[in-house]
């Protein structure tokens, strides 16, 4: 259990600036996910925390103890940081059995024999792989190898557990299983976890907090639902959510504590209370109205506050139906739960709750109106 603090971390590969002034606090017991597209620096951040990479600038503390001080060129060895890491490739030593793999680190720590034996058993039981104790890694399936890798990491009782895209090599079904498994481990051990992934579903379902990465910088740190409802800028909004969020071009102006927004769908007036601290330009300016597909309700009949639109395409998928809609030059997507059927080019009526809408400044791309 530990609190990790990263301050002004910079990492260069040659002239390539891969981490830019990373500041991040991970509270004791957090399940912190580093989320972002590939090449955005999330794995590098994890490796900096683990001690496998040495940043050129910055300070890192674990429970107040300095682990990195780049100004003094001080870097604590990975094994002195009280953490363990699960690699994307699992990195199981192929010449050792499951038991030997788990025992390796414990033997180096010079733990007594009975203690090693007990820890191996505990770890295996926890991951429900006791029967594979004497197998070699290549005699195990991908999912089983994954469990061994996690067992090896937790056997050393780390204060901090690092996971580098651990589920990316598993098939869709195993991934769902392992997600619940990881959530359980987090609860049972109470360990602080840092988890790297590019899969937003993993991030949203498991974490207590998400740090969203963009080109070597952290753009937003927030609990999953907050991140989903109020992405900090257009790129974040575009990245989070499946199917994608709808963007509609619009115009906005701010006067007398009210934000007036109009787009092809409708016009809205928002209170100052719903707005972010982001500065708003004077006079009229271009904005982007962002609406999650599930917030757009479709009705067959006209009614109060309902807007007529045209059905462009219809994709029923059993548990949900995606409907592409068109009005004027804008097209957007609606997600209906369950089966629904609409004729192409049929006119339908949509209703959108204004408090669920995000508004972004088109020029700065930053969020100016929050959803509730």
């Amino acid at each position: 259990m530990s609190r990790i603090e990263l301050k002004h971390i910079d990492k260069y590969y040659g002239d390539n600036h891969v981490l830019r002034d990373i500041n991040l606090v991970i509270e004791d017991g957090d399940f912190m996910t580093l989320l972002g597209p590939s090449g955005c620096g999330k794995t590098t951040t994890l490796r900096v925390v683990s001690g496998l990479e040495k940043p050129q600038n910055g300070v890192m503390t674990i429970d107040g103890v300095e682990m990195i001080n780049a100004d003094l060129a001080y870097y604590a060895e990975p094994s002195k940081r009280g953490l363990n890491l699960v690699f994307q490739s699992y990195a199981l030593w192929p010449h050792m059995t499951v038991k030997e793999n788990i025992a390796f680190g414990l033997k180096i720590q010079k733990l007594p024999k009975e203690e090693i034996e007990r820890r191996i058993q505990d770890a295996l039981r926890m991951m429900r792989i006791e029967e594979y104790i004497d197998r070699y890694p290549n005699e195990l399936s991908g999912g089983q190898q994954q469990r061994v890798a996690i067992a090896r990491a937790v056997a050393s009782n780390p204060k901090l557990l690092l996971l580098d895209e651990p589920l990316s090599n598993l098939d869709a079904r195993l991934r769902v299983d392992m997600r619940s498994e990881l959530q359980r481990i987090h609860k049972e051990l109470g360990t602080t976890i840092i988890y790297v992934t590019h899969d937003q579903v993993e991030a949203l379902t498991m974490s207590t907090k998400i740090a969203l990465f963009k080109a070597g910088e952290i753009s937003q740190v927030a609990p999953p639902m907050e991140l989903y409802m109020n992405p900090i800028d257009l790129q974040a909004a575009d990245f989070i959510g499946n199917p994608r969020i709808n963007f509609l071009e619009g115009r906005a102006s701010y006067a007398d504590g009210k934000l007036h927004v109009s787009c092809e769908l409708d016009s809205y007036v928002f209170d100052k209370a719903d707005m972010t601290d982001e500065e708003v330009p004077n006079g009229e300016f271009e904005c982007v109205v962002a609406i999650r597909p599930e917030q757009i309700q479709i009705f067959e009949e006209a009614g109060e506050g309902r807007i007529p639109v045209r059905v462009y395409a219809n994709q029923p998928a059993g548990s949900e139906t995606l409907v592409s809609l068109k009005t004027g030059k804008s097209d957007f997507l609606s997600k209906q739960i369950g089966l629904a059927h609409y004729e192409l080019d049929q006119t339908v009526y949509v209703s959108i709750a204004p408090e669920k809408i995000n508004v972004y400044n088109a020029k700065s791309t930053r969020l100016i109106k929050r959803a509730r």
């Binding site: 390539n16 496998l52 094994s79 690699f87 390796f104 180096i108």
Partner: protein, 608 residues
């Protein structure tokens, strides 16, 4: 994402920590030591040899008036380039080398490429067996081939007759010795470069590329011409370069087949100078030879450059459909069989039979057959056959077997170990300065033909260094081992690199996180995983050193004679049956090694 890193002001603790970071990591120590060793063993000898060609040596004191030993002089280069003898010492042999190299490429590359294509891509019958047989000629050392050539084609010029003369045919000198013989002998050896290159390139090409051509309506020759050949062209070109640079530097074949009629190449002429005088002219020739090879290889890199190889492996679609040869099947089959007959069966047969003959070229009638060459012990009989006892009673032979085994074992163990270490440094330092530097330093011996390389070591170690701390190693077994080790660095470190590449860095990092130090990481993770690759790398180095003649020939004397050198001297002295018998022993030794190496998964395709 480019940005300049800001400079930081000086800080004492920081400096202390930085030094500690470097010193506390044993990996840095290992890298440092290897770089120093590589520098001493490769860069300094090269510079030393270059320097010696500009320095007056004792032997030439009376020829250069007023000069002291150690003075700067252009005498040797003038002697070589513009002197009265220049035509005979440099230009003539250079022309011969280039001609031999050119024609060897002309014969061996098409030969090897066609063989590679037939085995990799067509429905030729008995493919597996043929694939195995086709590489056997390559296992035979090239100097052995030249002995077999002599066994077949020898004529009156060298005293005893060969197989064909024995049958009553008249073999002219131009066929028995000189350029034609040299080119054909080298071609039957170096075809292997093209064969292995083309064959592995073809195997990696997805046959869907060719099938797409077929769907577009191209005929088989059209597909071959506009799809297959362009795709393997880079491999063919690199085979051309390897063949050319190897052929130019080859000593054994050229000496065996050229010396008796006064036909010299750069390599054979150079050896005469290095073992004679002025020695420094020999070193200058060696520099010419090295520059030539370097020029060829860099020209190749310039021309092919980025197109070095196409990314022909597309992950999926490993299905490779064979091309149906149809009516061409029989003629092509006959082509392969003829090749095997001439490259393997006949020379081997004649070579082996000659060891049982009393008079070479006198047929195989029982009256002309004897076991004397192998086990003849009777000294009274000796003059009747040769002036020596049969090789199994011959102390020289026993000594040479001992020397060969000793040299190959010691040198290949050291080489393979160093290769793994160098491979470790190159893979783990990939993209970093020390990794690149190691890779480049290790590559240098590859540029040099065996005889040029050893001449460099002779120049370096023929006198003591560092005030006697490093004694003169000339004529010692140590020097031969050292030369063999360093010359095989490129090959050994490549096999080490390939081996280390297979060990993912994460496996080491996982150990590091679990608290393993450098030593533990190496002993518990890297070494156990590298074991198999190490053994196969060791076996291939072992065979390569066992075959070696060119590399060690100028260092040989009575005490250090190896089997290959003994065979060479016997052949030069006209004791052909003895030379053949020794060759047969070497061949057996090599074949047994290959069989063992194969057990450990060694691939002959990687053994040059």
């Amino acid at each position: 994402m480019k940005a300049k890193r800001p400079r930081r002001p000086f800080n004492k603790t920081r400096l202390k920590n930085q030094i500690l970071n470097v010193v506390k990591n044993p990996f840095n120590l290992v890298v440092g030591i290897s770089l120093i060793v590589l520098f001493c063993l490769i860069v300094i000898p090269l510079l030393q040899m270059i320097a010696s060609t500009f320095t007056v040596a004792k032997g030439e004191l009376r020829r250069i008036s007023g000069a002291q030993v150690g003075d700067f002089t252009l005498y040797y280069w003038k002697y070589l380039l513009v002197g009265q003898m220049a035509k005979a010492t440099l230009w003539g042999p250079l022309k011969n080398s280039l001609i031999c190299g050119f024609f060897t490429v002309l014969v061996s590359v098409p030969l090897g490429s066609v063989l590679g294509w037939l085995i990799a891509r067509t429905d030729i019958p008995c493919k597996k067996l043929l694939g195995m047989l086709v590489v056997i000629p390559y296992m035979i050392p090239s100097w052995c081939k030249s002995l077999s050539w002599l066994a077949v084609f020898r004529n009156k010029t060298s005293g005893s007759l060969g197989f064909l003369e024995g049958l009553g045919m008249h073999i002219p000198d131009w066929l028995a010795y000189g350029p034609v013989a040299i080119v054909l002998c080298m071609s039957l050896h170096y075809y292997a470069f093209s064969y292995i290159h083309v064959q592995s390139a073809l195997r990696s090409i997805n046959s869907e590329l060719e099938e797409m051509g077929e769907i577009c309506g191209a005929t088989k020759p059209q597909i071959l011409k506009s799809i297959t050949i362009p795709l393997v062209l880079p491999s063919v070109l690199s085979a051309v370069v390897m063949t050319l640079s190897k052929a130019i530097g080859t000593y054994g074949v050229a000496a065996n087949l050229g010396n008796r009629i006064g036909y010299f190449t750069l390599a054979t002429k150079m050896k005469n100078f290095i073992n004679g005088s002025p020695q420094n002219v020999g070193f200058a020739m060696s520099i010419v030879l090295i520059s030539l090879a370097a020029l060829i290889i860099f020209a190749n890199q310039r021309i092919i450059g980025v197109r070095k190889s196409y990314a022909t492996i597309g992950g999926k679609g490993g299905r490779s459909n064979e091309m149906r040869l149809g009516k061409a099947k029989m003629p092509l089959m006959i082509f392969i069989l003829v090749f095997l007959l001439f490259a393997m069966v006949m020379p081997m047969f004649v070579l082996i039979m000659e060891t049982f003959q009393i008079n070479t070229g006198a047929g195989y009638s029982p009256a002309n057959l004897t076991l004397y060459n192998w086990i003849g012990a009777n000294e009274e009989l000796a003059p009747y056959y040769t002036s020596y006892k049969g090789i199994f009673y011959n102390t020289e032979f026993g000594k040479s077997v001992f020397n060969t085994v000793r040299l190959t074992f010691i040198a290949s163990i050291i080489t393979a170990l160093c290769g793994q270490f160098l491979g470790y440094i190159t893979t783990r330092g990939r993209g970093k300065w020390y990794g690149n530097l190691t890779e480049q330093l290790v590559f240098i011996p590859y540029l040099m033909s065996g005889i040029a390389f050893s001449s460099m070591y002779v120049a370096m170690f023929s006198k003591p260094h560092l005030g006697g701390l490093l004694p003169s190693l000339y004529g010692t077994f140590t020097l031969i081992v050292l030369t063999s080790v360093v010359k095989h660095f490129p090959f050994a470190s490549r096999s080490g690199t390939a081996n280390m590449m297979q060990i993912a860095v994460e496996l080491e990092e996982a150990a590091e996180i679990n608290g393993a130090g450098f030593g533990k990481k190496l002993s518990r993770i890297v070494l156990p995983l590298a074991k198999n690759g190490f053994i196969s790398g060791f076996m291939l180095t072992f065979i390569s050193i066992a075959k070696e003649l060119d590399l060690i020939i100028i260092m040989m004397d009575k005490r250090t004679t190896t089997m290959s050198y003994l065979a060479f001297t016997y052949s030069q002295d006209g004791m052909n049956q003895m030379a053949d018998a020794i060759s047969v022993c070497v061949l057996m030794f090599i074949l047994i090694c290959y069989i063992i190496a194969n057990r450990f998964g060694a691939d002959i395709g990687k053994s040059w």
